[in-house]
């Protein structure tokens, strides 16, 4: 009975979403306050209904209701409870329901926290979000109903894909979807502003915190996915330029550009039409990513749904949403105006260059992801371009961007002096170069690429230090304490510094891993040892082990350094009989300066010996540490008191207008 109720709740939600997408929009056009007032309760009701349906699906999973096709395909009685919950988004139907839950959740959040917005603006925004819900509800109900019943329910389910039975997978998709779908808020703000014709600096100020929050989720989501690939796929890599990774990375690049562009629009009123375009593109790429993953047009390990009807539906929806918003843009944007003028050397110019580089990078990733598809459509074959292509195009685009990260924050708005900038930053540049060379010399690694990588990381740090020192220096007019001056730096500014520092940490990690990692595949019998970067790994054999829904061969390796015990690692090879799959569970000793990574390959000589992969990866955890710092910087920026203070101010203004 529960699945039917959930199914019914989705149909009710569709009715509410239809109403939400029409009435408030019409109300805003005709000046009907009562129609506009429907927006907030409708957004709330829509969220409650979808959340209820989602709860019904969770209940079906936890209660092992295998009469539901989706549960039978993705769960099993022996699956531990936490994975039964995560299995809800382990397949196509459930992940689309999760997507919808996030979408209506964001709409609910907008309804809840944007009371200060003028009535027509809020009505239009929520209506646009309603249109998006209608699309996804129809998609779910017509092509991917998660509540479909089986006439002859099996006794037990087919089990969740073992790759997904991992703590990282419990949180990775919700985080990523929060980010993906969160970009729909910036999109709706942009479309609503284009319809209403009120594209001004207040629009940018309202949009900024929402965009930043979505960007935070996206950053964490991507980082978690990468971390998952690192320890679950068992081959020690952390980024594969897989189409699905690219699908999440492209919106991230555009959202990053958008965050910076919004800053210019809010502070200086410039780049308005460009910012609006970015807001549309960021969410469009989220939708495109969904299409690529869900339709199966690109073959990828992730594409678990390959049903042409679904592909056709999403494509139709994609054309409608993106096409309509870009058409609206083409129609309305020319009237927006240019905003404040600025000189060639100014912070605006640097941020514009940042945007151009980020968009070029996104374009390169898009091309690399779609190139196989384009060739195929032109009848020229199918291929995967792989890391050789991406590494070649990506690094040259990122290098100038990193250089700009150092300069941009020090440049003044409107007009800056190039000689003065050069004077302030020459020490930073020199220090970065010297420290990079010294570091590489010290570890005996004088490659050009790795020196350049290190230099980029140190350059960001040195430029940040220059900026910070200038801000903390007494101005000579009023005597103040250092603490007082530190307190004067706006929180958003600190957020920016933390995020940029995160990039430095990330680059440092990538450079150290790329240039210093040692990977060794060795055949090991009991008692054999191998030495990697000063660590001695001794193989102690393999024993059998039973898990809840798998059998495992668990290896034991003692790690010593200079005769002292470091750790004992237990890599596993798991066999999931129901799902019919073998998984490699790497054992990793995570450290601040290095990871020890061991995974089991195949048994040879009838189990007398094993192929063991032994890796030492210097500073690899800095890659994810850097991502988390970026996210934390975003958090600081999004919670800047300016937004809270402005809320009150805007409310005051509304009252005046009303009076």
């Amino acid at each position: 009975m529960i699945p039917e109720i959930g199914h019914f709740a989705l149909w009710l939600a569709l009715g509410v979403a239809l109403m939400l997408s029409v009435m408030p929009m019409l109300g805003a056009t005709r000046g009907r306050a009562d129609w506009m007032a429907l927006a907030r309760p409708a957004a709330t009701l829509q969220f409650v209904l979808v959340a209820f349906a989602f709860g019904c699906l969770v209940a079906a999973f936890v209660g092992n209701d295998f009469s539901v096709l989706y549960v039978a395909s993705n769960s099993n009685t022996s699956l531990p409870t936490q994975y039964r919950v995560a299995a809800v988004w382990g397949g196509h139907e459930g992940s689309m329901l999760l997507w919808l839950l996030m979408l209506t959740g964001w709409a609910f959040a907008v309804a809840r926290f944007s009371k200060h917005l003028p009535g027509p603006v809020l009505a239009r925004i929520l209506s646009v979000m309603g249109v998006l819900s209608v699309g996804f509800l129809l998609f779910l109900l017509l092509t991917s109903n998660p509540f479909d019943r089986l006439a002859n329910p099996p006794l037990d389910g087919r089990d969740l894909n073992p790759l997904l039975q991992d703590p990282g997978m419990v949180f990775h998709p919700p985080m990523l979807y929060m980010g993906y779908v969160g970009l729909s808020v910036a999109f709706s703000f942009a479309v609503a502003a284009l319809i209403g014709g009120n594209l001004d600096t207040t629009w940018a100020r309202w949009t900024r915190p929402w965009t930043t929050v979505a960007w935070i989720f996206l950053t964490i989501g991507i980082a978690m996915g990468s971390g998952w690939a690192y320890y679950e796929l068992g081959w020690g890599g952390w980024w594969f330029w897989d189409p699905v990774e690219n699908a999440s990375f492209m919106p991230w690049l555009v959202a990053t550009a958008l965050i910076h562009s919004l800053a210019v629009t809010e502070k200086r009123g410039s780049f308005k039409s460009w910012t609006v375009l970015l807001a549309i593109l960021a969410f469009s790429l989220s939708l495109l990513g969904t299409f690529l993953v869900r339709s199966g047009v690109l073959s990828s390990v992730h594409a678990f749904a390959t049903d042409p009807r679904r592909g056709l539906f999403i494509l139709g929806f994609l054309v409608f949403v993106i096409g309509a918003s870009l058409a609206l843009y083409a129609w309305r944007a020319p009237k927006v105006g240019l905003g404040a003028r600025f000189e060639w050397v100014s912070r605006e110019t640097f941020l514009l260059a940042n945007n151009v580089l980020l968009m070029a990078a996104c374009g390169a990733v898009l091309l690399g992801t779609l190139y196989p598809l384009l060739l195929d459509a032109l009848g020229m074959g199918k291929l995967s371009v792989g890391p050789p292509y991406f590494d070649t195009v990506f690094v040259p685009l990122m290098t100038p961007l990193i250089f700009l990260i150092g300069i941009g924050p020090l440049a003044r708005w409107k007009q800056a002096e190039l000689p003065q900038l050069a004077r302030r930053l020459r020490w930073a540049f020199g220090a970065a170069l010297v420290v990079a060379v010294l570091t590489n010399w010290w570890r005996g690694h004088l490659g050009i690429v790795s020196t350049l990588g290190l230099m980029m990381a140190f350059w960001i740090v040195a430029a940040l230090a220059t900026d910070l020192a200038d801000r903390l220096r007494p101005n000579g007019i009023v005597k103040t304490s250092l603490w007082h001056r530190a307190g004067l730096i706006p929180r958003a500014m600190i957020g920016m510094m933390v995020a940029h520092l995160g990039i430095a940490v990330f680059i440092f990690g990538v450079t150290m891993v790329k240039s210093g990692e040692i990977e060794r595949d060795v055949k090991m019998a009991v008692g054999d040892t191998t030495e990697v970067l000063g660590y001695t790994f001794t193989f102690r054999g393999v024993q059998a082990l039973m898990g809840p829904n798998y059998r495992a061969s668990q290896g034991t390796l003692d790690v010593t350094r200079d005769g002292k015990a470091v750790i004992t690692l237990h890599p596993e090879k798991r066999i999931f009989p129901v799902a019919g799959a073998t998984m490699t569970e790497a054992a990793i000793d995570t450290g601040f300066t290095r990871d020890l990574y061991v995974s089991l390959g195949e048994p040879i000589d009838n189990g007398a010996a094993w192929i063991v992969r032994v890796y030492v990866k210097p500073f690899i955890s800095w890659i994810w540490g850097g991502c988390l710092m970026m996210a934390f910087g975003g958090f600081l920026a999004a919670t800047d008191r300016r937004y809270r203070a402005k809320v009150r101010q805007t409310q005051g203004a509304d009252v005046k207008v009303a009076a």
Binding site: W235, F240, D242, S273, L277, I280, L281, S284, F291, S295, V297, S299, S300, V301, P308, G311, L312, L315, L318, V319, I322, G323, L326, A327, Y329, A330, A333, P334, L370, P372, L373, L374, L375, D376, A377, G379, M380, G381, K382, L383, S384, V385, G386, P387, P388, E519, D521, G601, E602, I611, R613
Partner: protein
Amino acid sequence: MKSLRYILPLLAFLILAGFLARGLNLDPREVPSPLIGKPAPSFALTRLDDPAATFKRDDMLGKVWMLNVWASWCVACREEHPLLVEFSKRGLVPIYGLNYKDKRPDGQGWLARFGNPYNASLFDDDGRVGIDFGVYGVPETFIIDKQGVIRLKHIGPLTPDVIRERIEPMLSKLNA
């Protein structure tokens, strides 16, 4: 005409959407190749496992053989690999790998880990031979006859269907 540039994003998107629509209706595996019926390009490469040993096209004259292009960075290859390992055990045809734009330790590690279906893998680090063979991407599979002529080319991962319906009939025809 200044407002024309505001239409550009829409136009670019519509072109893209056209390609996507076309992509939905394609069978991505079915591609003709201009090389079919032509002699395989000549090459001389070192073996992946032994930089000292070279391997030439003409070494295989007089035999029907299969060339499989792969790389350790290629996700689709990993998908195809178990099938290839199974297929190699049946001993229908000697299988040679072309290890495309890879690094020696990566390639060797990959084979040690996932099994080695190849009689030998040839190491094509700069991808030159792959280009001669018209490789669009990885994986691809060729069947070359006794006269050194390419008779079949398959783009993308092998599937049980492809092996049953294309590869096996071709092999029995060539070996008849």
